[in-house]
């Protein structure tokens, strides 16, 4: 695997520093229960951020994933309630996610509408359609084996985290080893050059958004089974969390570069802030402020580095 850490090391350094500091100042942070809860809570962001990495590498954005997450979760609940077998229902929900992703991708790649506007529109449409069709009511009275896939809490938790990590690792591996990912990076760097090199740019772009939808669907399913009911308003701010993690992980918002390793570090860093504050005895209301500061620091750091690189190039 091609690990160069050119752009990831600031985030990696911050994570290392934070965890080292916690080991000294608040060793109880390392209790198994805490780490397990931290992992569980970040499963949705991790999977969505994986897709978002590709979306941003290809120089686009998708802010509809939070709404899509809610729709896929509710769909999953409705399918299970309607009697679809528990092994089949997740695939149905993932398919719905992919289909909604295809709507985004179709409008962006074939109609050439700007992704920020398209996904802003679908973000609102999906959220509001869901509110209208469910009346805001949760999907309740699900079969007993819905929660934790009927595996019991401990095994269920382990399975969820394992699925997410394995998927992410697969994705990471694929990004280095599947030729189609080359096409994604090339398109994000310079779509005209990629087109002239014979890469089917539109299809690649479309595929990335479908994948984004499918991953969000998986994230929604893994999140839903943690509870006995499915809320109709889940996934709020999920798109922002995912974008933040990708950016903090060193993927420039202008596309063409970036890595899934960086995104993993970004999720880990931003996701650890809340629990860390709690264990350090600081008011957890500071969580968002600290996260914001980290994002700002990343951007400033990058700007400084660019500035220095330019000065060196001139000299």
């Amino acid at each position: 695997m091609n690990v160069r850490l050119e752009r990831e090391w600031p985030a990696l350094g911050a994570v290392a520093a934070l965890y080292l500091f916690l080991a000294i100042a608040a060793p109880s942070f390392y209790h198994f229960e805490n780490l397990r809860d931290l992992a569980l809570a970040n499963v949705p962001v991790l999977l969505v951020a994986a897709g978002m990495t590709l979306v941003i590498v290809i120089a686009q954005i998708d802010i509809s994933v939070g709404s899509l997450f809610a729709v896929a979760g509710v769909t999953f609940g409705v399918f299970v309630k309607a009697g679809l077998p528990l092994w089949l229902a997740p695939f149905a929900a993932i398919l719905v996610g992919a289909a909604l992703g295809a709507v985004n991708g179709g409008l962006i790649s074939f109609v050439r509408a700007p992704s920020i506007v398209v996904t802003l529109a679908t973000m609102i449409i999906w959220r509001e359609s869901l509110r209208w069709s469910t009346g805001g009511a949760w999907i309740e009275d699900l079969p007993a084996n819905f929660q934790w896939f009927g595996l019991g809490q401990q095994a269920g938790q382990a399975v969820i985290v394992a699925i997410a990590l394995v998927l992410f690792a697969l994705f990471w591996w694929a990004s280095d080893n599947l030729s189609v990912f080359r096409a994604v990076y090339a398109t994000g760097s310079d779509s005209e050059a990629a087109r002239l090199a014979g890469i089917p740019v539109k299809q690649v772009l479309f595929g990335v958004f479908v994948l984004m939808g499918a991953l969000t669907g998986i994230a929604a399913v893994l999140n839903a089974v943690r509870f006995s009911d499915v809320p109709a308003n889940s996934g709020m701010d999920l798109e922002l969390k995912a974008i933040a993690a990708v950016v903090v992980g060193g993927t420039p918002i202008t596309g063409g570069r970036g890595s899934l390793l960086g995104t993993f570090i970004g999720v880990l860093l931003l996701g650890s802030i809340g629990p860390a504050l709690t264990f350090l005895g600081i008011n957890p209301y500071w969580e968002k402020a600290v996260q914001g500061a980290i994002i700002l620091a990343t951007v400033l750091f990058d700007a400084l580095r660019m500035h220095r690189a330019r000065r060196l190039a001139i000299a």
Partner: protein, 506 residues
């Protein structure tokens, strides 16, 4: 030193003088000593081949570019620290080949932007602004409304607005760069009347055009540029068409061009009556044999790049067919073209030839991902590395390793990587668009050797170039384009720079 005979009233004052202007971009010497003078009430033509330095000279006069050496005098006073704003304030206006209006502003606003000054917070007097615009438009004989959005106008209409803009700036020196390139005959005629009128009022005009008949109609004097040097200035009445062409080309072929001895094979590539209105290509036909280099010559804007793009599936064709080894191809996208065995190394390498953020290895394998991955699309890192290293060795790319980013390579080496990408696809036909543009002299020769070797290996090569010497030195045959059409085909031993230029100017 300037040698010229002047047939102007001695009484007109000298307006502008350029003395020994020099300018290099890196290793490329754009201007190597240009001297030039301009009198009030004179139309002074500036001619030269593509790359002779006309554009650079204009940029220097208008303050867009700073010269390395030499000086510019306006009314005998040296212009120091020239800038676009300063040049305009001094009364030097320019009208470019392509109109450069703000498409979302109205005609009146566009005109006002060029001339109004004052505080950014001043109140806009819309009525006088419109009245002024109407008056200027009437003067140039344009019927467009001052309230029309500039972007909604046709090219000729926009060009007339540009001229109105220049009038408004009260230009004492007006530079016109191919002003008729986007105009029809009628609009051109009213432009000529206007030029004459301005001259009568004492405006000094620098007029650049490839259309010699216009120059004979309008110009008092002409200065010929060649290779960044002002070769000669003479009265228009003293020269003929043939003189101008001889002076523009003016040198013998030297031996920088290694034409490899090749025996030409069968016809590999054939294009019949290809038309594409979106790209402005009309009824193009050509054939290329195995091992042959077909040069495609013509002026900038003659449709050579557009023909290459049409062949590569970048725009839908109206008619015509493309045959490879006698089989008809249907190419609707670059992906189809690549599959069929075509390769296209585009002009403007830094933008579309290589992807600057990616490594040499990734760049060189980008068009042949199938080769470095198995049937399920998994990349084979070892194969990739090997292929990339092979091409580095074969093409002589100078870089620390295959992982070096393209942005850290020199122009010549980037071009080699762009070539490597396409050679890896085992193409039958290679289309090169300005293969040595902006590359320093040493690297140029390397690229020429490379192209020669590729032809010798049996490739059919279509080479677009604006450098007549490059075309003559490398091509087996030369097709000349003008206005989207192929207007002539020359055998290598029959082709001369004069002949090519004459054809290109038709």
């Amino acid at each position: 030193m300037l040698t010229y005979t002047r047939r102007l009233p001695i009484t007109t004052p000298l307006v502008l003088e350029a003395r020994q202007i020099r300018k290099s971009y890196g290793a490329v010497h754009a201007l190597r000593g240009v001297s030039f003078d301009l009198y009030a009430g004179e139309v002074h033509a500036l001619v030269g081949e593509n790359g002779a330095g006309k554009s650079t000279l204009i940029k220097i006069l208008t303050g867009a570019v700073e010269p390395d050496a030499g000086e510019i005098l306006l009314h005998g006073e040296r212009i120091v620290e020239n800038s676009p704003a300063k040049a305009r304030a001094l009364g030097i206006s320019v009208i470019y080949q392509q109109p450069a209006l703000f498409p979302d502003l109205t005609v009146a606003e566009n005109i006002a932007l060029a001339s109004e000054s004052g505080s950014l917070l001043r109140r806009v007097d819309w009525r006088s602004r419109r009245a002024r615009a109407s008056e200027l438009l009437a003067r140039v004989g344009s019927h467009v409304s001052p309230d029309a959005r500039a972007g909604s106008l046709s090219m000729p209409e926009q060009q007339m607005v540009e001229i109105a803009k220049a009038l408004d700036a009260n230009a004492r020196v007006l530079i016109m760069d191919e002003p008729t390139a986007s105009l029809g005959d009628q609009d051109a005629a009213s432009l000529f009347r206007l030029v004459d009128e301005l001259r009568a009022k004492g405006t000094a005009i620098i007029y650049i055009s490839h259309r010699f008949e216009e120059l004979f109609l309008l110009a008092n004097r002409v200065t010929i540029l060649r290779d960044g040097i002002s070769i000669q200035t003479c009265a228009m009445a003293d020269v003929t068409n043939a003189d101008l062409i001889r002076l523009m080309v003016g040198r013998e072929l030297d031996t920088v061009f290694p034409k490899h001895k090749t025996t030409l094979g069968e016809t590999v590539f054939e294009v019949r009556d290809l038309s594409c209105s979106r790209l402005g290509v009309k009824k193009a036909s050509l054939t290329i044999r195995a091992g042959e280099i077909l040069g495609l010559a013509g002026l900038v804007g003659s449709g050579r790049t557009q023909l290459a793009e049409a062949l590569f599936g970048l725009a839908p064709l109206e008619s015509g067919e493309v045959l490879l080894n006698g089989e008809r191809l249907s190419i609707e996208s670059p992906a189809d073209a690549v599959r069929a065995g075509l390769a296209y190394v585009p002009e403007d390498r830094r933008r579309h030839g290589v992807i600057l953020n990616l490594s040499i290895a990734v760049n060189s394998t980008l068009a042949s991902l199938g080769k470095i991955s198995n049937s399920r699309g998994f990349l084979n890192a070892a194969t990739e590395k090997q292929l990339a290293n092979d091409c580095i060795a074969k093409l002589g790319v100078k870089a620390p390793s295959a992982d070096t980013l393209a942005r850290n390579l020199s122009g010549g080496n980037q071009q080699k990587v762009a070539l490597a990408r396409w050679l890896m696809t085992d193409p039958k036909v290679l289309i090169l668009d300005e293969p040595t543009q902006g590359i320093d002299v040493g690297a140029k020769s390397e690229i020429y050797h490379l192209i020669g070797r590729l032809a010798a290996s049996g490739l059919a090569i279509l080479m677009i170039s604006s450098e007549t010497l490059e075309i003559l030195g490398l091509s087996d045959r030369i097709a000349v384009m003008a206005k989207g059409e192929i207007v002539g085909l020359l055998e290598r031993d029959k082709a001369t720079p004069q002949l090519i230029l004459e054809m290109a100017l038709t």
